[in-house]
């Protein structure tokens, strides 16, 4: 495990037609980077920049498990997950090389050129389970997840690009107008919770 005295900076990724990316600093309780892309290649390039600049300690990708619809988008999303998993350092299909920490949470250490980083695959059910545990109530749906993340970070105003005219943005302000990056925050937040719990245990 990496040292977490300074907290954990997790790059969360939400695959899909539009890929959301968000870097969350768990010590500061703040989003430090956010973006959305229409391609895996752009997402991978962003991840490379994060690694080169030392801006993140861990990666977490939402693993798609979908039970309501199919179509091209389902195939693309499943392939995107595989491509990102591979690009960030995974060397085999899930769950072959990974440790399943709990239902829907997989973790593997990947070797970077500077140090080893955890790489998580987290299913949606695990994200909502972590949020529900934190809140002590059942958290469901995209809107519910976002509402809880806002509440956990201080409530109204934290997601404003400018909390008050001329002042600093809210701690989630970088996510303004980026719904897919908001979904990526949920993944990053859950991974930070789980990683910290692992280290504390």
């Amino acid at each position: 495990m990496i040292a977490l005295a300074q907290g954990l900076r997790v790059a969360g990724i939400d695959p899909g037609k539009t890929v959301g990316l968000c870097v969350y600093d768990s010590a500061a309780g703040k989003v430090t980077d956010a973006a959305q892309y229409r391609s895996v290649a752009e997402t991978v390039e962003h991840c490379r920049r994060l690694l080169q600049s030392g801006m993140c300690d861990a990666f977490a990708i939402e693993r798609p498990r979908i039970y309501s619809h199919g179509g091209n988008e389902l195939a693309d999303t499943i392939e995107q997950f595989g491509a990102l998993w591979h690009a960030i350092g995974g060397r085999a299909p899930l769950p072959a090389e990974t440790q399943q920490l709990q239902g829907g949470v997989y973790r593997v250490d990947v070797q970077g050129w500077d140090f080893v980083r955890p790489l998580y695959a987290i299913e949606r059910r695990a994200v909502t389970r972590e949020l529900s545990r934190e809140m002590g109530e059942d958290v469901r749906g995209d809107a519910g997840v976002w509402a809880v993340l806002v509440e956990l970070h201080g409530g109204r105003g934290v997601a404003d690009r400018r909390a008050v005219k001329g002042s600093e943005p809210g701690v989630l302000g970088l996510l303004h107008g980026l719904p897919h990056a908001r979904a990526a925050l949920a993944v990053a937040w859950a991974a930070a919770q789980i990683e910290t719990g692992q280290t504390d245990a």
Binding site: P64, G71, D76, W85, H86, L94, P95
Partner: protein
């Protein structure tokens, strides 16, 4: 009852057995990994099924695709 199974492997570690089962006019599609994890399951019509199977079979990342059609017991 009929069943169609598509074995799908890609360059990105995606290895799925996609099985479609007929239930009268409706179909159910299910995607399972080599380790038996169910990744997706949903109901669909025959035209939707044909489109979905084509989406997998012609996916740009596909490395190996093989289809098996068989009759099963009702």
């Amino acid at each position: 009852m009929e069943a169609v199974t598509l074995q799908y492997v890609s360059a990105h570690f995606v290895s799925l057995s996609i099985t479609a089962l007929a239930h009268g006019d409706a179909w159910t599609a299910e995607g399972v990994t080599a380790r038996g994890e169910r990744i997706f399951r949903y109901r669909l019509t025959l035209p939707e099924l044909l489109a979905d199977l084509d989406a997998w079979a012609s996916h740009k990342d596909a490395e190996r695709v093989a289809a098996v059609v068989r009759a099963t017991e009702a």
